[in-house]
């Protein structure tokens, strides 16, 4: 039978409402089964979809188990590592390990239960350029300090657990409701009870970023300029020039992947990619054409040399690059390496 059967919207609707006869059911089944009818059926059912109520307050079906199953399935999905695949194919030579020996000031020794008078000392942890440093704090909290960053705190944590941060760090804070944990940066404080989060506050960058992975934090601007309560998977960006901040939903793991030695980019513009690569490898980029900053990238790098990373980035966009000769500054020390990125013509 190649003649199409017209779809009776009224019968379809009755069927959906549960008021239908055997005759109606046979018709509806035919409409569904007949391939020739697919478009007409879709139009009729779509009309029903748009008329369908979307407020079920008070009569909601509990779908949390569906969401939980979805979360599990999503978690299993590994990020696509396009660049790494390419490396494994063509360049299976071993990549140099970037991670330098950790520079860690052990503070455990100072955290012996000394009876009064308590000896308090100011401790500073420095993570040099190109290194990531794992640190432990006297209260049991721990974390990672990114390349070119430093942390300062008083060993005894007299009142608050107060940490000063310049640069970027990821914290896993031990819960203690009596002693709030406060991370102070140049522009804002992050107030914590117990949680996991990432703070990036580099003095040479306009923005200070806080990304919350778990728990709850409060971000306070200085002099009461603003207070923000953050929820997991949110990123708060404070712009020091505009003196204002915005909240954005993100995948928080991505912002702390640096602590595991990964550089992860998900649909991010080249400008952002280069900013983070520059921080990681302590190099500076010069873009000769502002348009190329808009190219978007999706990539994961793990322990690659800077030359390889830049080469891979240039493969997927019409750009070329050149490493400038390193200059020696007035103090006799090598300056940051500068890499120029141009549009390929």
């Amino acid at each position: 039978m190649d003649m199409k059967e017209p779809i009776d919207y009224k019968i379809l609707h009755k069927f959906a409402l549960g008021k239908y006869s055997l005759k109606d059911f046979k018709l509806v089944s035919r409409w569904f089964e007949d391939k020739n009818n697919e478009e007409d059926l879709k139009i009729a059912i779509q009309q029903h979809w748009f008329e369908f109520a979307d407020d079920f307050s008070g009569n909601e079906k509990d779908l949390t188990s569906v969401m939980n199953q979805l979360k599990q399935k999503i978690a299993k999905e590994r990020p696509v590592v396009q660049f790494r695949k390419r490396i494994q194919k063509f360049y299976s030579r071993a990549a140099a390990i970037l991670l330098l020996p950790l520079l860690l000031y052990s503070v455990y020794s100072t955290f012996q239960k000394v009876k009064s008078p308590e000896i308090s000392a100011l401790v500073e942890i420095v993570s040099p350029h190109g290194a990531r440093t794992h640190f432990h704090l006297p209260d049991g909290s721990q974390g990672w300090l990114n390349s070119g960053s430093r942390l300062k705190y008083e060993t005894t944590f007299p009142e608050n657990r107060n940490i000063q941060l310049i640069g970027e760090a990821w914290f896993d804070v031990t819960r203690n409701d009596k002693k709030p944990f406060v991370v102070s940066t140049a522009n804002l404080d992050v107030l914590v009870l117990g949680t996991k989060f990432n703070v990036a506050a580099f003095p040479d960058e306009k923005a200070t970023e806080v990304v919350l992975q778990e728990g709850k934090v409060k971000v306070n601007g200085y002099n009461g300029t603003f207070t923000v309560d953050m929820k997991p998977d949110e990123k708060f960006t404070y712009n020091k020039d505009l003196q204002s901040g915005t909240i954005q939903a993100v995948n928080a793991d991505q912002f702390s992947s640096w602590k595991d030695g990964l550089l992860v980019f998900r649909n991010e513009p080249l400008s952002e990619v280069l900013k983070r690569i520059g921080r990681w490898y302590n190099v500076e980029f010069v873009l000769t054409d502002p348009e190329i900053a808009k190219f978007r990238y999706r990539a994961t790098f793990q322990e690659e040399q800077i030359e390889e990373v830049i080469r891979l980035i240039s493969l997927t966009a019409p750009i070329k690059y050149s490493f400038n000769k390193r200059e020696v500054g007035d103090d006799g020390v090598f300056k940051k390496r500068i890499i120029t990125i141009q549009r390929k013509i």
Binding site: S21, L22, Q46, F52, M67, P232, A249, E268
Partner: protein, 196 residues
């Protein structure tokens, strides 16, 4: 439900495109109830409606980088749901076919079987009547009608004559005809209405 940090749908979709699980959960909150009820209205099964919700949102996540701002999100969601619902529906209709055929046959005797606007109750009634048949008859009837086996094969399997198989089926059909007769059916449907 709105709070100061709520996003527009466009913003949520851009966030989802960049892989935000937060945005994914918000979109689930906004549309899962509608999707569930809608699927339920065509599939008449809570489990299957939940499966549709899960499948549709999983597909949404897996294809998040293909999302376009230009097409309406609701239309996009509908298209995924429609294909899924259609697949489930056709499978269900195939499973239901033997019941439909029996009822079809019964409507020759009593035309109201075809037009009573309560197909679902008729099916429940049919199943409970089959269930009340003597065990042997029930077994033969199911093999023939539900599994579609040939009379000869059933006879071989059960080590009985083909004539016995045919007789049992005729008996079963006569019994159903009687139960689905004009005076009985109205009473039974009436009973179900009160049960609700």
């Amino acid at each position: 439900m709105k709070n100061e940090q709520s996003y527009t749908e466009q913003e949520l979709i851009s966030l989802l495109r960049s892989g935000s699980q937060y945005a994914f959960e918000r979109l689930f909150e906004n549309y899962s109830q509608k999707l569930y009820r809608f699927s339920l209205s065509y599939l008449k099964s809570e489990t299957e409606a939940e499966e549709i919700v899960q499948d549709v949102f999983l597909k949404l996540w897996e294809n998040r980088d293909k999302l376009r701002n230009e097409t309406s999100f609701q239309s996009y969601l509908f298209t995924i749901a429609f294909n899924d619902i259609r697949k489930h529906f056709n499978k269900k209709a195939r499973d239901e076919r033997y019941r439909t055929e029996i009822l079809d046959f019964l409507s020759d005797e009593n035309p109201s079987v075809e037009t009573i606007p309560d197909f679902e109750t008729l099916v429940i009634k049919l199943e409970s009547l089959i269930d009340q048949m003597p065990d042997r008859r029930k077994e033969i009837f199911r093999k023939r009608k539900k599994e579609g086996k040939a009379v000869r094969d059933i006879a071989g399997e059960m080590e009985i004559s083909q004539k016995t198989v045919e007789n049992q089926i005729t008996e079963a059909m006569n019994y159903l005809k009687k139960e689905f007769g004009k005076d009985r059916i109205s009473g039974l449907l009436f009973f179900y209405v009160f049960m609700d």
